[in-house]
Structure formats: C-alpha cells, structure tokens
C-alpha cells in the first residue's frame, strides 16, 4: 500500500488550516501572540532594568540634603519624586516602593560634625519594598562614607599622618574592588529570547499534542469519519500513524512560526549550528509523540468532545506551569521539581535549552534526555495498544 495511507490526516490538516479560523488561531495566531507577550514582558535581562520608586520629603532643604537627593536621582536605579503628604500613607497605598524623610537640621548637623539621621519608610514582607529599603540604606551609608572621606581629605594637611590613617580607616574600614565579567548567554536579551522561544515551542507541543490526540476517537466517531475510515482497506496502525503525522505537521507549522517570530524579535537562533538543529528537531519529535501517546492513552475513555477539551486542559494547564516548561524548573519548589524532572516533555525541553543556551554538547543532552526518550516511546506503545482496542470496539459499536 502506498505511503499516502499515512498522510491522509496530514492532507486534511494542511488543507483545513487556512480555512478554519479556529484551527488557524490555535496553530499560528495564539502561539505568536503568546511569544510576543512573553518576550515583551520578560525578554530583557533583569539587572539593567531594575528600578525603585522613591518618595522623598525634604524638610531640611539644605545644600547637603539637595546633594543627597541629586545623588539618589543620578544613581540610575531610583525614580525620585517629592511628596508633601504623609509618607506612611503614600507607601502603604503602594504608590512608591520606599520613602525617605530628610529631617530639619540634616545639613547643619553634617557640617558641624554632629551625627544626623534620615528616616526610611517601607512595607515589611513586600519583596519590592524590602529590596528598595536595603538598596537605599546602602546608598545612604555609602553617601555618608564618601562625605566623611571628603572632610578628611580637606583636613589632611592639618592632621598628623597617623591620625589621618586612623580617620580614613574609621570612615571606610573595608574597601571593595570590582572585576567586570561578561554575563552568561541567558543574561543577554538574545539568550533570554531564545529561552522563551524554546519554552513556547514546548508549551505548544504540550497543548497541540494533547488536543490532537485526546479527542481523536470521539471527534472522528461524532463526525462519522471513523466509520468511513474503518470500512476502508487500511490497517489500524496506519490510522494511528496517520494521526501522529497530522499532529507532527501541526506542531511543525506552529514551531516554524514561533522560530521565525523569535528571530524577528531578536532571538539569535541562527547562531545554532545545523547539526544541533537536527538533534533539537529529533528531541522535539520525541517530545511530541510522547505527549500524543499520553493523549492516545486517554482517548478511548472519552465520550464527548466537551470532555476531551476539558481533560486536555486539565492535564496541559498545570503541566505547563508545574512541569518546568514555561516557568524555569529552578523557580519551582523542590517538591514540584521532582515532577518536572520525571515528566518526559519537561526533560526534553530542558535538554534543548541546555544545548541552545548553556552550551551543552548534543551527546550530553541526549544522555540527559535518554530516560525521557524511553518513557515517551513506552507511553506511545501503551497509547497504540489502547487506541487499537478502541478501533476494534468502534467496529463493534460505531
């Protein structure tokens, strides 16, 4: 029998995709919108973009208080605003991350060598506010040290050498040196975007794989196509493979669209050598058939189209978040990392990220995903056994 028996489902899919709006939406439009949003929100590396909003009440309005406020403003990580109303109310209302009150006499105390103080207002147990408070506190300490160093420099010519050395020590007992290193690939915008391209492909494999398989029997039975196929000279395994090929066609179209958009948005996927692309494609193929296999295991037990959609969502939605596919595994609690480690698609997506982003060798990635490959094949085989039984039953009770 010609190979066309394996391709008829794919033919239907390709012919339908630009005619059925719903199919076009889920295959191309939705993943592209999803990737665009993710890249827009998380696409730039964190460090350079972090900033805190600071509400300042300057009750002193002296040269030194203005100097301090200018220094804060020019530090590059604070957005400064003057506030006249109660800072506690402003911070409680979450208008700003942190508040700073510079009291009357601040400048005078500093110039007359009297200890002075500032007041920082923040929200406890609120991560952004706590971080802003620590950052501002360090900044003010550093401002104080620099001020003292300047005073000592001015007084140096009037001081004995030993007193000068001691004063410098008191002003700044520990001095830091800085070494600038280039960040890892993931810390670059390109790396971050590559990460999200791979995650989106993984996410779409999860959804497309489940949706094309879970409802495969009930949909074909409802439309009557199953009866037409079963009365044809075609063996059950060919029906099964035709369905898998259709799913792979769908996932390939989606993945191609995601990759092209990813490149357009700045993911430098073209730097990945061809042999890694091939290895990646094969790994994704295994991930896809494993996911479809899971759907085929469930498909014989589904009685209505609505139930198929509900079950596919019930599996895909939590898996998307908890399986380390869209949210990095290291951000999950350790108990959930166990699931992400054993769920085959998660492991495969993880190994692809490791190749594309963290510079793993292909052999290393294949070794890492070997248990997932074995599990995917086993799931597919179980899926086939149950699917075949369901086809036999469909001949007995169409």
């Amino acid at each position: 029998m010609p190979a066309s028996q394996y391709l008829y489902e794919g033919y239907i899919y390709v012919k339908s995709i630009f005619r059925e709006r719903q199919l076009l939406f889920w295959t191309i439009v939705f993943p592209l919108v999803y990737l665009s949003i993710i890249v827009a929100v998380f696409g730039n590396p964190g460090g350079s973009n972090v900033s805190f909003s600071v509400a300042i009440q300057d009750l002193d309005n002296s040269t030194l208080s203005i100097t301090l406020i200018d220094a804060i403003r020019n530090a590059g990580i604070y957005r400064v605003a003057y506030v006249n109303s109660s800072l506690e109310e402003v911070i409680r209302g979450r208008g700003y991350d942190v508040g700073l009150i510079i009291p009357r006499g601040f400048g005078e105390n500093l110039t007359t060598a009297n200890q002075t103080y500032v007041s920082i207002v923040y929200v406890s147990n609120l991560q952004s506010s706590e971080a802003a408070k620590s950052s501002l506190e360090s900044f003010i300490d550093r401002f104080g040290s620099i001020y003292v160093e300047k005073i000592i420099e001015i007084a140096r010519s009037y001081m004995p050498v030993e007193a000068y050395r001691y004063a410098i020590f008191m002003a700044k007992p520990i001095s830091s040196s800085y070494t600038e290193v280039k960040g890892s690939y993931i810390s670059t915008p390109e790396g971050r975007k590559t990460y999200y391209v791979i995650s989106t492909i993984g996410f779409m494999i999860l959804y497309s794989g489940l949706f094309t398989s879970v409802g495969s029997i009930v949909e074909a039975r409802r439309s009557g196509v199953l009866q037409l196929i079963l009365s044809s000279p075609i063996k059950g395994y060919r029906i099964f493979i035709a369905r898998i090929i259709s799913g792979i066609v769908s996932i390939s179209i989606t993945s191609t669209a995601i990759i092209l958009l990813g490149i357009a948005l700045g993911a430098d996927l073209y730097r990945i050598p061809a042999y890694i692309w091939i290895a990646t494609a094969l790994l994704l193929l295994v991930g896809a058939i494993g996911t479809m296999g899971l759907g085929f295991i469930i498909a014989p037990f589904i009685r209505t189209s609505g139930a198929a959609t509900a079950i596919a969502n019930m599996i895909a939605f939590p898996t998307m978040f908890l399986g380390g596919i869209t949210i990095p595994k290291f951000l999950l609690p350790s108990s959930l990392q166990i699931f992400a480690n054993i769920y085959p698609l998660s492991r495969i997506v993880d190994s692809i990220r490791n190749i594309a982003i963290y510079g793993w060798e292909t052999t290393q990635a294949i070794q890492y995903s070997a248990p997932a490959i074995a599990a995917s094949i086993a799931i597919l085989v179980i899926g086939w056994i149950l699917y075949r039984r369901a086809l036999e039953k469909a001949l007995e009770n169409p």
Binding site: P2, S4, Y11, L228, S232
Partner: protein, 307 residues
C-alpha cells in the same frame, strides 16, 4: 462462489436483534434491499460494507473473510466500496479534496487519488461544484459525493445505503446510468424505499422485516408470487353507480372509481367497458392498475412503503 456471501449474519444491540440470521449470495448483479424503517437494512449494509462487525455469522468478499484477521479485513475491504446513509465529509474541504483524502486513505496514492477524484466529479455531475467547500453542498450533491467516495478505489462490490435519497428524478436517472455502467462485472447492493427504483434497476430484490429477510427474488417473480392481480379502474360519471360485473372488488375515491380484478386486463377491458356503454354510461376514464413491488411490500410486511 459469489462476489459477496453473507452467511447467517446476525447483529444484536443489547437485547435487541437488529438483523436476524440473514444470508445473501450476490455475484455480479444489482440487489435492492427494501424494508420499512427499522427493519435492519442499514445495519445489514453496514455489516456488508465492512463498517459494523456482526454479532455472529460470516461475510466473505471474493472468498476472503471480511471480519477475519486484520490482514484479511484489509484485503477484503479493497474489493468493497461503502457509502453510508449519513454523509460524512470534512466540511471545510472541497468535494474534490474530500475525494482525494478518502482515496489516499484507501491506498490509491496521492496522484492516483487526484486522478480518480477528477474522473468521479465529472462522472457524477459535480465538476462545477468540485472546488466549493462541502459545507455549501445541497443534500443531493452530498449524496452524489458520498457515492463517489464509495467508488473512488474502483471496488468490485459496491454497497450503497439509500443512494437515491435526496436526489431529484433527473439526478436519480444520472446516478443509475453511471451505476449501470459500473455494474458490468461488479456487484451492487443498495437499499431503497422506492419500489420503482428497485423494480427498474435491480436484478434481485430482498425485502426485510423486523431484522429478517422475508422474501427475495427478481421483481417480476415477487410480483407474480405476492402481488394481488391487476385491476381495471372505471372512472364513473356523475350519478352513476358501479356495475356488479365479474371480478368487481368495490370502489375507491368516494365511490367514483369502480375496481375489477382480472388476471388478463387486456382481454377483460373491452367487455367491462362494453357493459357500461350498454347501460348508456360512458366512463370518464379507464385505467389498468398493474401491481408492483409496493404492493408486494405491503403484502409481505403489512406496512405501506414510505417513498
């Protein structure tokens, strides 16, 4: 040996017996299956078409067990083309594309499917609509497409469940001229509610009732054996009653038509009309009513045909 042999085929749905031990042997002929609604025609044809497994009994196609091993099932189905009662197509695809994918599933290859699909849309008068989505097809067009799908792989046994339903008289004639052309060297088994269709196009007629095959034979044999004798109908003028002549069986249409049963209407017509004229009654119209399969159907099932 026949192209298709059904031996004591039975199908149960729970306690309900839809088809009860039916046997058919068909070899290069056209067989009509008639029966009232719920008599088991569709169930029987689904079993002969390879879409529904019998509860018991055997079906052989070209000597191969249709419900045997997977290999046998596949081989036997190469010889069968089945068009189910309900038309099933991918709604967003065109008629031509639907035929192509069905051809691919039946193992014709993509190019073979395209070639055959083109031939069939021409042959079944769908060429002008071949590139329209089937969601825009009328009932008759869908029926023709369904028949084309059964013929796509050029099968030797063609099983059609109510191929004429939804077709206008001209489309019905076109369909049958195609089927009669195709029937040479092939077996066609189809179901119908239309006694005229069964009588005109079939070599044999099977009538089912409550899951059982009650009678079978050629249309003329069945009419001869089961139908009442022909009638001569005399349409009476206003104010004239029927004459009580030999074979008088009563009146119909508000006593305006007198009916006379006769074995040989050609011979008796003249005598009956002459008897009326002798009484100075000139009949408004005279008709010879020959019984057909409809009457046979009524006699053997006790139910009128729903045409």
């Amino acid at each position: 040996m026949g192209d298709i042999i059904a031996e004591n085929v039975t199908r149960r749905f729970g306690p309900f017996v839809a088809v009860d031990s039916v046997s058919i042997v068909a070899d290069k002929e056209i067989i009509a299956i008639m029966g009232p609604n719920g008599s088991g025609k569709t169930t029987l044809l689904s079993m002969l078409g390879g879409a529904l497994k019998p509860s018991s009994g055997k079906v052989y196609v070209k000597g191969i067990d249709l419900w045997g091993s997977e290999d046998k099932m596949e081989r036997a189905r190469r010889y069968i083309g089945f068009s189910p009662q309900a038309t099933v197509f991918e709604r967003s695809l065109t008629g031509y594309e639907n035929l192509v994918w069905i051809g691919m599933a039946r193992g014709l290859g993509i190019w073979g499917s395209r070639r055959r699909a083109k031939e069939l849309v021409e042959a079944l008068g769908l060429a002008d609509h071949a590139n329209k989505p089937v969601s825009r097809y009328s009932g008759g067009m869908l029926k023709r497409l369904s028949i084309a799908s059964a013929l796509i792989h050029d099968p030797e046994v063609i099983v059609l469940d109510e191929p004429a339903s939804g077709l206008d008289p001209s489309a019905l004639q076109d369909l049958w001229s195609l089927l009669l052309k195709m029937a040479r060297g092939r077996t066609i088994i189809y179901s119908t509610h239309n006694p005229y269709e069964a009588e005109r196009y079939s070599t044999r007629v099977f009538i089912m009732h409550r899951g059982k095959m009650v009678v079978s034979g050629s249309a003329s044999e069945l009419i001869e054996r089961y139908a009442p004798k022909p009638m001569i109908a005399i349409y009476l003028p206003e104010g004239v009653g029927p004459l009580d002549l030999e074979g008088f069986r009563g009146t119909d249409r508000d006593k305006r038509v007198a009916l006379y049963e006769t074995r040989d209407p050609g011979r008796d017509l003249g005598a009956i009309v002459a008897a009326y004229i002798a009484k100075d009654y000139t009949p408004e119209r005279v008709e010879i009513r020959r019984p057909g399969l409809g009457e046979v159907f009524l006699r053997v099932t006790g139910e009128a045909m729903e045409v």
